[in-house]
Subunit: 208 residues, 2 copies
DNA sequence: TTACCTTTGTTGCAATTGCAACAAAGAAAA
DNA sequence: TTTTCTTTGTTGCAATTGCAACAAAGGTAA
């Protein structure tokens, strides 16, 4: 989402030169990974673009997460008690590294790189937890107005400026906040009319 | 929440016998830990009871999480971009183990227990991610009915039986789902009237 | 036992929200 | 360039939800 993180590049670098990590290429539309079993398998997307997709019992398709660049995904990050079908589909020609926890921890055991690899892996987990905490933070807000303001504050709190560019479309923002898009647009207008925020296309500024 | 997990007991066991882990006792009402800085510090509650508490800008107090038994908490698990004050308060006389990531990973480096300790720590992260995924799953549902059914399905999907005992009060359930309690009670009655669920005190049975 | 506090159950009413629908603008594909 | 698809912006209306309020039941402490 932000600038790419060092530990992910480090992981790619180290993993590319090992024999227990498989490199695979997928064409657009192909299934990279399913989540039916819990193999504790990791997949790193080193090139291309992919979506984590769910089909619910009614056949509705939802994009849960989008992966780009060096994103790491796998069953550990989406273990959930559900009947829904989950899989990752390549949106473009994509190249991935596939490995699993056991191999990673066992093979590097006596390696000098071990500590750094473990550090990098824990950083991935910590990042995921941060992202999830932020999502829960906004989702637990009761009203659309509170959800929006909570999200806006999270987006600005990591920097000095009180403005930011939306990282996705307004349609996707409504999905992220799990609210109706039209109701969200209405509430954004209310916030502008009340002098609480300013909106120039995808740039939002907090006025408080 | 369920039966206690082996890896947490293992961690307690190993950590109790090291010199970089501090053991501390807190009286009821004392602050065990604040979340103001990111020290990558872990705290394991080995005896007692504690709450993760937030005071928002309006001074409202919210209990975000409750810790018992061998629960592990710390800044890594609640890093969030927010202005709110966060701290963990002892609800009873409590005993904790305090340690940090660097010490843990460095000190066990050449130890035969290392792999098992790392495994245990990753398991804690994986468990947290599962719990958060489940919460997000129910929170993203649009209506109270869908939130309830989603939660009920998560509670029954790990076992064969279609019934379960609520792990907390109905008041707390409304908090967990982030909905109004009275509206929730009304919807539970609707679900019963529609023959979708059965409710005997804290025991819920799915009839579909 | 009595007193007090928390939880459950319930309802009317007002406010918020979702839904449906459509126009306009913008972006991507042909 | 023209066509097609996606996103934004907007509104009326109905349905859902939150709020306030209170009684009853259950639990805990004195």
């Amino acid at each position: 989402m932000d600038d790419k993180l060092n530990h992910l590049y480090y992981l790619e670098d180290v993993l590319s030169n090992t024999n227990f990590v498989k490199k695979k290429t997928f064409k657009k539309g192909e299934i990279i990974s399913t989540y039916i079993d819990k193999r504790h398998q990791y997949v790193m997307l080193i090139e291309g673009e992919a979506d984590l997709i769910r089909y619910d019992v009614n056949g509705n398709k939802t994009i849960i997460e989008k992966y780009i660049d060096k994103d790491l995904f796998g069953d550990v990050f989406y273990t959930i008690y559900t009947n829904n079908e989950l899989f990752v589909e390549a949106k473009k020609k994509s190249e991935v590294l596939i490995f699993n926890y056991e191999d990673l921890v066992s093979n590097f055991n006596k390696d000098s790189k071990y500590k750094k690899v473990i550090d990098a892996l824990f950083s991935v987990y910590t990042d995921k937890i941060l992202v999830m905490n932020n999502r829960i933070e906004v989702l637990t807000k009761r009203t659309i107005r509170e959800k929006l303001l909570s999200y806006f504050q999270i987006m600005t709190s990591r920097k000095l400026k009180k403005s930011f560019y939306l990282p996705f479309t307004y349609t996707d923002l409504a999905d992220y906040l799990s609210i109706d898009r039209s109701a969200m647009m209405r509430e954004i207008k209310n916030l502008i009319d009340d002098g609480i925020i300013k909106k120039e296309a995808e740039r939002i500024t907090l006025l408080f």
